[in-house]
Structures are given as structure tokens and as C-alpha cells.
């Protein structure tokens, strides 16, 4: 197992290099930072000075090698736009994203799995049809539409929740989080719900289809024959057997939400990192984008590694050598 993890991490190192190269080239073909940074009435000299100062006058391979050399020394670069170290920028915003994604994940799993199992077990109940309807509609309503509806209903009409922004935060292990105070939570509720809807729908459907397959297996029959409590039957025997796809999606979504939940962050003005990425791409802020992508790739690698380990825990027949 330790070998397995080490090997994976070794592969990831290569991955990070490939990723940085891709992003480097990608940003290069997309837009020219000098053109974006220089003002409307910048002179040719202004542009040249700017390019020289950021090393943008060098050939791309040279720029890339310089970048790698800096990374090795722990320097991820300085934002073109903000003039600040990119890691500072990223880590300042990370807690806001992490907490809202965490809440969304909890909502997604807490509602999705029980609803899915219920539908799987009670195929013909009206409640099942209702769940199926709602989840279908839930994910066919585009995210941005949904966000606005949430704001309209809960903030504008009912006035029970704030429409935008992040509430007060409290210090938790050095992170600024609003998860641990009631007012802060109020601000988190709508964006988290907005992220959670798709998750709930996905988890419900995966759990439902898994249940419909597992429920009829001999071992489930025998487990029922043993007369164990329904809670245990479902919570242990059934759940363990339907979790693999759920874990897969949870892992992928976890990464995606942390990295790319730009729509939600934009509509609710949630000061997270997804927006930072989008803005940085649009402002041609290459250092931020590259550093961000390296971190995100690392995160995905770790999350997927964790998922792979969980597979083996869930199903003892899966073993990695």
C-alpha cells in the first residue's frame, strides 16, 4: 500500500510538470498579458518596459524554464494584476471556497443518499415519483438560473437570507471561516444550496440505481433473513455495496467544486478561488493561473488517490499492489 501511494505521488510529479507546461502554453496562445495590462493609451515604450519587467520579452521556453527554476526555490511568482505573491492570493480565498463546498457536499450526501435509497427500495411509491421528478428538474435547471431564483425567493421575497457576499468569519485553526457562527452560516446557505442541488440529484440517482441492483442480490436476501434491523441492513449491507460510484462522483465533484465553482461564486459574490481563476484567465494573469492549476492538479491527484484507497476499503476484493 505504501508502495502504491509512493508510486502514485511519483507519477503526479510528472503530471504537475505537464500541467504547468500546458497552462503556460495555453495562456500564451490565448492572450498577451502586456496588451491586457497596458492601459488604453500606453506607448510602445510603456509596453516594452512592461514586457521586459515581467520577463515577457523572453522566448517562451526561457520563460518556462525561469518559472520552473523559481518554483524549485519555492517561488510561485507574483500576480501581474495584483502585484502580490500568487500563493497569498490563492490561500486568502481558499477558506471561503472550502467551507462552502464542504457544506454543499454534506448537504449533497445527507439528502442524496437517503433519497436515492428510499427510491430504490420503494419503486412504486408516489414519493419516489416525486423525488425522481424533482431531481430531474433540479439538474435541468441551469445553475445560474437556479441561483437567481434562490436569491429571488429567499432574499428578495421572503427576506430570510442575505442575497450575496460572505458573512462574518471566526478564526478556526488559523483559517477565517464563517461555518462556526450563525450569521456567517446564513450567508453560506444559499451558495451552498446552489452547489448542492446538482450533487443531491446525482447522488440520489446513483444511490437509486445502485440500490435497485444490490437489493436483489442473494446476500441481501440472506441479510434480511437474518432479521437484522432495517437501519443496519441499509446502512451497512446495502450502502457499502453501492458506495463505489458515489465515492467516485463525490471525489470528482469535490475537486471540481473547489476549483471551478465560478458561476455560484459570481452570482452570490462569494469571495472564493474559482472566481479568482476565472478572473485571472480573463485578465491574462498567468502566474496566478499556473500556480493555481498546479495546486488544483495536486489536489485532484490527492483526492483521486484517496478515492482509490477508499475503493479498496469498501471492497476487499480490490487490492493494489
Amino acid at each position: 500500500m505504501i508502495n502504491f501511494v509512493l508510486r502514485r505521488l511519483g507519477q503526479s510529479a510528472i503530471l504537475l510538470v505537464i500541467m504547468s507546461l500546458l497552462v503556460f502554453v495555453g495562456m500564451y496562445v490565448v492572450s498577451d498579458p502586456v496588451a491586457v495590462m497596458a492601459g488604453e493609451d500606453a506607448t510602445a515604450a510603456d509596453r516594452a518596459a512592461l514586457a521586459a519587467a515581467y520577463g515577457l520579452d523572453q522566448p517562451l521556453p526561457v520563460q518556462y524554464l525561469t518559472f520552473l527554476a523559481n518554483i524549485v526555490q519555492g517561488d510561485f511568482g507574483t500576480s501581474f494584476v495584483y502585484g502580490r505573491p500568487v500563493l497569498d492570493l490563492i490561500f486568502e480565498r481558499l477558506p471561503a471556497t472550502l467551507e462552502v463546498v464542504f457544506l454543499a457536499m454534506v448537504l449533497g450526501l445527507a439528502f442524496g443518499i437517503p433519497m436515492g435509497i428510499f427510491s430504490g427500495l420503494n419503486r412504486r411509491k408516489p414519493a419516489t415519483r416525486l423525488i425522481s421528478m424533482i431531481t430531474t428538474i433540479g439538474y435541468s435547471i441551469p445553475n445560474f438560473w437556479q441561483a437567481l431564483l434562490f436569491i429571488l425567493v429567499f432574499a428578495v421575497w421572503l427576506r430570510v437570507l442575505p442575497a450575496t457576499g460572505r458573512g462574518p468569519t471566526t478564526d478556526f485553526l488559523g483559517l477565517q471561516l464563517s461555518l462556526f457562527n450563525a450569521e456567517g452560516l446564513r450567508y453560506m446557505l444559499l451558495p451552498a444550496a446552489n452547489l448542492a442541488v446538482a450533487l443531491i440529484c446525482m447522488q440520489t440517482r446513483l444511490a437509486r440505481s445502485g440500490t435497485q441492483e444490490v437489493m436483489y442480490q442473494d446476500y441481501m436476501m440472506f441479510a434480511r433473513a437474518k432479521g437484522i434491523a432495517p437501519r443496519r441492513l441499509i446502512g451497512r449491507h446495502l450502502l457499502r455495496n453501492i458506495l463505489i460510484p458515489i465515492v467516485t462522483i463525490t471525489a470528482l465533484e469535490l475537486g471540481t467544486l473547489i476549483a471551478f465553482s465560478t458561476v455560484t461564486e459570481t452570482v452570490f459574490s462569494w469571495p472564493g478561488i474559482g472566481k479568482l481563476l476565472l478572473d485571472s484567465i480573463y485578465r491574462s494573469d498567468r502566474p496566478v493561473v499556473v500556480a493555481y492549476m498546479i495546486l488544483i492538479t495536486l489536489m485532484f491527484v490527492l483526492i483521486n488517490l484517496a478515492a482509490d484507497i477508499i475503493y479498496a476499503v469498501l471492497d476487499p476484493r480490490i487490492r493494489y499492489s
Binding site: Y219, F222, K226, G227, P316
Partner: protein, 556 residues
């Protein structure tokens, strides 16, 4: 009266909208402390009755008539919740397919202890030690260690004993034992049956024993119900049924029981299977297969075969096979008998390349080490009938496709004939043609086993590794199938490696035999010799433990 079944009828709805009446007007009565046996043809509906008592019939089953009274209360219409109060606590169930009955992702310990904690007031270490006690009672060695294992790490017999332990954990009023000893060697079987009998006698527990082993029936049951195609054909006290069967089917059944006392050329059959053109075509197909080759050459040679399963967390491995070696001659039937868990299936899995043996092992087929040949070519020389027939069927393919998919891919049968061939082969193993379109899960245990047999035969291979191929079959069907195999053997030189616990069958079928215990061969030789003049104490023990169905007793 503890259990009364009154004119019960059960129907399964099939995928195409048709309905199958699995049970018609079946009645049964059972008092505490008594053991009722249900015998009958494979697919007759025995398991269906058992499941009905526990409310475990699938969604597509319907109780179309009759009542099931448990202590006077009609449970036929119970809800899932009401059944919850009965299951495990008042009625224990020993599931027919032990290898699929255990949850693959939960450890044995968890599955056993949760039952204990649900139904008794034992918790924590008390529950654990009771679990160990139960396993010991079920003749499971190293019970502590087994608790941490997962089902796929256990042999079929071990799984069956664990299922047994789970079913009796709460000392229910009624135990439904659906073929509880099919995967057990006779010594263990004796112990397990002994436990059951003791439960009935001492704890006043009623038992419904579903089995096809008449020896078991004669030893265990107070009363016997004989079932054929969903209908009760005869019921009566055990002795009466055995000694003086009234109905034709019962008589056939008794006649078909193989004897360990003497070896005959053929199993006695009284036309259990209908002779149809399809069946004939199927048999012709099988006969037309392999070119008859000279009998007697060594076909399969194995030497120094060891297998160590690596332990958890780098702990010491478990040596499932220890320097096993033997040779199988072409055209013979080579028997492997022995203790459950002694490594019989592992030998098969090693031959088939499903487990990698420890270094040093040599497995040669026709003089060439296996593994160098391509898979397709090998598939026509070497086939397998899996011990767990169900898990080895693709659940998303109907029975017909399961049987012919491989041979179609190998070009043994043109696509357009595949369906007909599948149906023919189903008839060969005694299933109706219509079964071809049913999905694997909708078959009875014995039917699944026969699908597995049909699939293996369809390749017309040179050698078949048969891992307890007929354990779930009643004697009439078993006799038909074993005769067929013998016939193919005679005419084509088919070689069989035959794993079985049924020593009578082994005696009938096998030319040579090895006896295994704890991963080693303890005795080997011609079947006649080993089974009549055993040299090894373990073999002797096996023979003496055999439940005997004494025809002589019947005569007297």
C-alpha cells in the same frame, strides 16, 4: 402446531409477462422439535417454499393462494416490517447458495456478530466469544482468525458453515435449512447435522430440511414431503417414504440413489428427462465434438503446486496448498475428495490460471506448461464447472447467451444456430427450452448449476475441472447428467477432474482419487482401492462418517 402451510400457491411473473406457477396447493405441518424433510426435483419449488415462510420472495413473486401459519398466525400477507420481527429470531434460514449469501464487502465477523447482537443480549466481547463458539460448533477451525476474513477468502464449505452459524445464532423456533451441507465433506456434514438434530431434540426447535441427499433424510427427518414441479406428490413418515414409496416419482427417486457399496457402470435412471428432438440434437452436438483420443496418456500433470495467500497487513501468509502433485490420464475421471477448505478449488483455480501458484509449480497439459498457449485454444481443451455456479454467470446475459456466448466467439457454432443450440443444451441438462431467455437470478440453485454444466460441455473440451458439479442436484437429475458425462468420456475420451463430497458419486464416477487435507494429499490411488480399503486414517474417518442410505434397511 408451530408451522402450518395450507394449500400454498406461488407464482413468478417472468420478464416477458408470462407467469410461472412454482408452487401449487402445497401443505405442510410441523411441530416443535420435529424435523420435516422436503425432497424433490431440482427446480421443483423447494427453496420457494422456504423463502415464502420468511417473506423473502422477490418482487416478481406472488402468493396466489393459501396460508402460512406460524403459531396460528397467518404470515402470508405480512408486511416487510412484520416479517422483520420473525426473521432470525423466530425463524432461522440457511440459505441455499452459501457463497453468494454472504455480503462480499463485510467481514465474516461483522456478519455473524451483527446477527448475535440483533437477537441476543450479548454485546462486544461477549458477542465475539459467542461467535467463536458458534463457529467452533459449526466445525470451523481457527474461528478467531476466520472472523476477520472476507467471503472471497473462504472456501465454499466454510461459507456454508458460516451461513449455518448465522442461522442458528438466535436459537430460533424454526429453522429452514435449504441444502445446508452441500459443500461439506462428510465428517463436517455429520457434525453439522448432529448439531441440527441436537437443536431439535434439546432446544425443541422445529426444522424444515430441504435436501436431495436421501442419506441425510433417512438420518434426520421425522417426516418427508416429496415435491415435483411445484406439487406435493407424496408425504409421510420418513421410513415409510423410503421403504415403501407409493408414487412413481418417489420410487424413481429412491432407485436413483447411488450407492457407495458397489460400483456400477451407470447410475440408475428412470428417464427423468423427456427425450425430445432438441435434447437429442444437443447430445449429438456434444458427441460430434472432440476426436476420440487414446485413453491412458497423461493429460494433466501437476507437480510441486503450492499456494500461499498473503496475509493481511503483511502478516504471515496462509498456505492453502502445499506441494501438491498428481497426474491425470486421458479419458479417466480423477476424483478429488477431502476436507472442506483443504484446497480443492484452489487446485482448480491454479490449473485454470485464476490464481498464481507459488514459484516452482509445474502445471502441464498434454506435456506443455499451461500459460503458454493462447486462451482461445486452451478454452477448447480445458473447461471448468464452478463451485459457485451463480457468481460465474454473467448477470446481464440470459441463460442461453451465457451458455453459447463463448463457443460462438470461438466459432464453434454459427451465430444463427446459437440460440437453438443453447436451447438444445438446456434440454440436455434437463431444463426446458424456454429457460434460455431467463436471466440467471431467476433460476433455482440446481438449475444454475446445470447452466454452468451446459456452458462447460458446450466447448466440447478435452478436460473439465468439475468443482462439485452436482451438489445442488437431486439424484435423478444428477444421475442423468453424470451418465451423460460418462458416456461422453467413453466415446470421446473426455477427461474429468471431479471434486465432490459425495463419496458414493465419487465411487461411481472416478477411476483414481486423491484425498486432501489441509492443503496436502494424504492418500491417492484407484478409487476402488481408496474407497474400500483406505490406508490413511483421515480417509477412513471420511468413509465412516458417510450418512448411509441403506437400501438393505429399506428391504427389510
Amino acid at each position: 402446531m408451530l408451522l402450518t402451510i395450507d394449500r400454498l400457491s406461488i407464482a413468478y411473473e417472468l420478464a416477458d409477462g408470462r407467469e410461472l406457477e412454482a408452487i401449487k396447493d402445497f401443505s405442510l405441518t410441523l411441530e416443535r422439535g420435529r424435523i420435516a424433510g422436503i425432497v424433490g426435483q431440482s427446480g421443483a419449488g423447494k427453496s420457494t417454499i422456504g423463502k415464502a415462510v420468511l417473506g423473502l420472495l422477490g418482487e416478481n413473486a406472488r402468493i396466489s393462494g393459501g396460508r402460512i401459519l406460524l403459531e396460528g398466525e397467518d404470515i402470508a400477507g405480512f408486511s416487510e416490517r412484520q416479517f422483520g420481527a420473525i426473521r432470525g429470531k423466530r425463524v432461522g434460514y440457511i440459505y441455499q447458495n452459501p457463497m453468494t449469501a454472504l455480503n462480499p464487502v463485510l467481514s465474516i465477523g461483522e456478519q455473524l456478530i451483527e446477527t448475535i447482537e440483533t437477537h441476543t443480549d450479548k454485546r462486544g466481547t461477549a458477542a465475539r466469544s459467542y461467535a467463536v463458539e458458534l463457529l467452533t460448533g459449526a466445525e470451523v477451525s481457527h474461528p478467531e482468525e476466520r472472523l476477520t476474513k472476507y467471503p472471497h477468502q473462504l472456501s465454499g464449505g466454510l461459507c456454508q458453515r458460516i451461513v449455518f452459524a448465522i442461522a442458528i445464532a438466535a436459537q430460533p423456533d424454526l429453522i429452514i435449512a435449504d441444502e445446508p451441507t452441500t459443500a461439506l465433506d462428510v465428517t463436517v456434514q455429520k457434525a453439522v447435522l448432529g448439531t441440527l438434530k441436537r437443536l431439535a431434540a434439546q432446544e425443541n426447535i422445529a426444522i424444515v430440511l430441504i435436501t436431495h441427499d436421501m442419506g441425510v433424510v433417512s438420518q434426520m427427518c421425522d417426516e418427508v414431503y416429496v415435491l415435483l414441479r411445484g406439487q406435493l406428490v407424496e408425504r409421510g413418515p420418513t421410513m415409510q417414504i423410503i421403504t415403501a414409496p407409493q408414487e412413481r416419482y418417489t420410487q424413481e427417486l429412491m432407485a436413483a440413489i447411488p450407492s457407495v457399496e458397489q460400483r456400477r457402470a451407470r447410475f440408475d435412471v428412470l428417464d427423468a428427462f423427456e427425450e425430445t428432438p432438441g435434447r437429442q440434437r444437443g447430445i449429438d452436438y456434444l458427441r460430434a465434438g472432440t476426436v476420440a483420443l487414446a485413453h491412458g496418456d497423461t493429460m494433466l500433470a501437476i507437480s510441486n503446486l503450492s499456494k500461499t495467500f498473503t496475509g493481511e497487513k503483511g502478516g504471515a501468509g496462509f498456505k492453502a496448498l502445499d506441494s501438491v502433485g498428481f497426474a491425470v490420464r486421458r479419458g479417466e475421471t480423477f476424483g478429488i475428495v477431502g476436507e472442506s477448505g483443504s484446497g480443492k478449488s484452489t487446485i482448480g483455480r491454479a490449473i485454470l490460471g485464476l490464481v498464481h501458484p507459488d514459484p516452482g509449480a509445474i502445471i502441464a497439459l498434454d506435456g506443455h506448461p499451461i500459460g503458454q498457449e493462447n486462451r482461445q485454444a486452451l478454452s477448447r481443451k480445458l473447461q471448468c464447472i464452478f463451485q459457485d455456479p451463480y457468481a460465474s454467470l454473467n448477470p446481464r446475459m440470459d441463460a442461453g447467451t451465457n451458455i453459447t456466448y463463448g463457443i460462438r466467439a470461438a466459432g464453434l457454432v454459427p451465430r444463427k444456430h446459437a440460440q437453438r443450440l443453447a436451447e438444445d443444451l438446456l434440454e440436455v441438462v434437463g431444463l426446458p427450452r424456454a429457460a434460455a431467455t431467463k436471466m440467471p437470478h431467476a433460476f433455482s440453485g440446481g438449475e444454475r448449476q446445470r447452466i454452468g454444466i451446459a456452458r462447460a460441455l458446450a466447448y466440447r473440451p478435452g478436460l473439465i475441472f468439475c468443482d462439485e458439479p452436482t451438489s445442488a442436484l437431486d439424484v435423478t437429475v444428477q444421475a442423468e447428467i453424470l451418465n451423460l458425462m460418462k458416456e461422453l468420456q467413453d466415446s470421446l475420451g473426455l477427461t474429468l477432474v471431479f471434486v465432490s463430497h459425495d463419496l458414493a458419486v465419487v465411487r461411481q464416477m472416478c477411476d483414481s482419487v486423491i484425498v486432501m487435507r489441509a492443503g496436502r494429499i494424504v492418500e491417492e490411488g484407484p478409487a476402488e482401492q481408496v474407497l474400500t480399503e483406505p490406508a490413511d486414517p483421515y480417509t477412513r474417518q471420511l468413509l465412516s462418517a458417510m450418512p448411509r442410505f441403506l437400501r438393505s434397511a429399506a428391504a427389510s
